[in-house]
Amino acid sequence: MGGEAASDVLSSPEAVAERFGHCRYIADEPLATAVFLAIRLGKPLLLEGVPGAGKTEAAKAVAEILGRDLIRLQCYEGIDAQHALYEWNYQRQLLAIRQAKKAETDIYEDRFLIERPLLRSLRNPAQTVLLVDEIDRSDHEFEALLLEYLSDFQISIPERGTVRAGEPPIVILTSNRTRELAEALRRRCVYHWIAYPDLARETAIILARAADVAEKTAAAVARAVSTIRSRPLAKPPGISEAVEWANAATVLEKTGSPWPEAFRRAIGVLLKDEEDLAYMQEELPRILEESLTWGRP
């Protein structure tokens, strides 16, 4: 079981959602349910969704609510076993042979083993949260490499045998879905698709994450960002961009820019693609006006 100790803390999806709130991560019920099930069933959690929807932050929040260390493995094209599992420290092995001269020496001791994130998560005496970030960027072969780990929380090292976790880590995989993941991988995981939040939740996220933003500003940002996301942009803004936009606009407003102008001047924090900026330029004033006056008689 993934988290016998954790299950004491996480008694229900509602408790998970509440604890997420304590660490400023506003999770909806389906996400809280998926986290709860993954931990209680002892299965890895696969979070898929558009970039910027809060997948990596969710993993960090899980580590925080459980009080566990977070070990992060960032995936990229070409990542292989040496980067993910372990490597032998050959220089030290050679030095050990030289020093030993004719005496017998074991060059496959722990001190020669360089732990990479997967092995570190297994050998850590306390339970850890392992984040395998952007698994869709890795090669298919790497996915296959992960299967043994994800099924049985073990790794085979030819010179040493099989390393099993004393306390299986809580594994969270994220994917931006730039490619399809193998069925074998999906099957081993509890799955959740993280979508962009609705208006109320995005407002709550901005309020929780932004330093000094008024509630009305947060609501206006959430409404404007929601409308902007509905346009066919090359890089739709994520949640963190929305938070930064609210922060930046607030700073500008406090230094003398009136409201719509503050948002307009800070737009580079929200839209980070030249074509998107050009595309939205004409419509932006109307969107801002509507967002700021929404709900007024």
């Binding site: 349910t33 070409g78 050679l94 298919h140 399809e180 069925e183 099957r187 799955y191 698709w193 090359a234």
Partner: protein
């Protein structure tokens, strides 16, 4: 339907599953019947998740199902419909079956590696084909054209990807520490010449999908000849035809003799010069896991005019999925042969963001040149055409 399956569960001798599990097992069976792949351990997890959540409401059961049975996000609507059908008995299964009957026929010629696979058919006959479907046979002109150049240069032109495997090499590699170290240990610690290794590289697969509808009739001969050359030059190449149906003709084109290969391909496809159902045909392609595996990491070239009739939602969603699967997704359209061409139809505009290339496919020469240039970086079609439109003052 659900009740009949429930009765089956109860009648199984030695079955120790409690009666309460039956609806959940029915649901899993229903999912499998509708093309969702659910492994037995996922079923076990589903039952455990339901128990963990109470379940206090039907929403809890639904969430447990989504979390443990992991339906792809594209098919979540169908998944929800089946959930409602099984747990609320709203009769949506029948409705979905009718939708299935509208699905495109998939015809898979199989091959050496697929000989054991049965013919994939989601529909028993052509009786439910759309009004635009017209089945016919074709004979092909096998004159030498751009295919000769393609066959000669393709093996070197395809972009390569590194595999996980390592090759021993004498130069231009990284030090193979394991082997070098073994040598040193065998030489009693004396430093020997370092051993080198490098990652093995293989050519990416070319997946060519040829639109054989009536509007593409003039191009079909040349495209088929090119396809034959590509299959001969790069053995991993896969060829599909799309029209009112989807047919895999790779096996037919593996025959070395071109005349014979084209004859076999002609005989294996039923919908030459028929109507256009690009979206449903691509959707049918994506519904077959083995075909999806062929597209993964490949260079997918769709040779089509892209003139989708009616609603293009299927076309757009299929292209979106293909873009996510493929290393590079290209549309070669004969319309782009005209310098005044702009991708302004609703269907083309909707798929433009997902394309890496939108190129001239008006002649087999042009398409062969494009295929041979696939090793160069993709310009991203949407950006390219925005620039063109901007330059033209649109």
């Amino acid at each position: 339907m659900g009740q009949a399956v429930t009765a089956d569960h109860q009648s199984q001798p030695g079955s120790r599953l409690p009666r309460e599990c039956a609806p959940f097992l029915d649901f899993v069976q229903t999912l499998r019947r509708h093309g969702f792949s659910v492994a037995p351990d996922q079923t076990v997890s589903f039952l455990a998740a339901v128990a963990l959540l109470g379940p206090k409401s039907m929403e809890h059961i639904r969430r447990a199902a989504i979390a443990t049975l992991a339906p792809p996000i594209d098919r979540q609507a169908a998944f929800d419909a089946l959930f409602r059908a099984v747990f609320f008995g709203k009769g949506r299964v029948a409705a979905m079956r009718n939708e299935d009957e509208e699905e495109t026929v998939v015809k898979d010629g199989g091959g050496a590696e697929a000989a054991a696979e049965p013919l994939l058919e989601q529909e028993k006959s052509g009786a439910h084909a759309s009004a635009t479907e017209r089945l016919s046979t074709r004979a092909f002109d096998d004159t030498e054209n751009a295919s000769g150049a393609l066959q000669r240069h393709l093996p070197d032109a395809l972009p390569r990807r590194r595999t996980f495997r390592h090759l021993r090499t004498r130069s231009k590699g990284m030090v193979d520490l394991r082997r070098s170290f073994r040598d040193i240990v065998q030489a009693d610690g004396d430093l020997a010449a370092p051993r080198l290794r490098r990652r093995k590289e293989i050519a990416r697969r070319l997946l060519l999908m040829i639109d054989i509808s009536g509007s593409m009739r003039e191009q079909t001969d040349g495209l088929l000849a090119l396809a034959h050359a590509a299959v001969q030059a790069a053995p991993g190449t896969e060829i599909f035809t799309i029209g009112t149906r989807l047919s895999r003709i790779t096996t037919a084109l593996r025959t070395r003799d071109r005349t014979l290969a084209l004859e076999r391909a002609a005989a294996s496809v039923d919908d030459w010069d028929g109507g256009t159902r690009i979206g449903p045909a691509l959707k049918a392609f994506l519904a077959v896991p083995r075909f999806v595996a062929l597209a993964r990491g490949s260079l997918v070239v769709l040779a089509s005019d892209g003139l989708e009739r009616g609603d293009h939602a299927d076309f757009e969603s299929a292209m979106r999925r293909l873009a996510a699967l493929a290393h590079r997704l290209s549309l070669a359209t004969p319309l782009a042969g005209d310098p005044r061409f702009r991708p302004e139809t609703a269907a083309l505009a909707s798929i433009l963001p997902w394309l890496d290339d939108l190129v001239d496919g008006s002649s087999d020469d042009a398409l062969a040149r494009f295929i041979l240039s696939l090793g160069q970086p993709a310009p991203k079609a949407a950006i390219l055409w925005k620039e063109k439109a901007h330059a033209a003052g649109h």
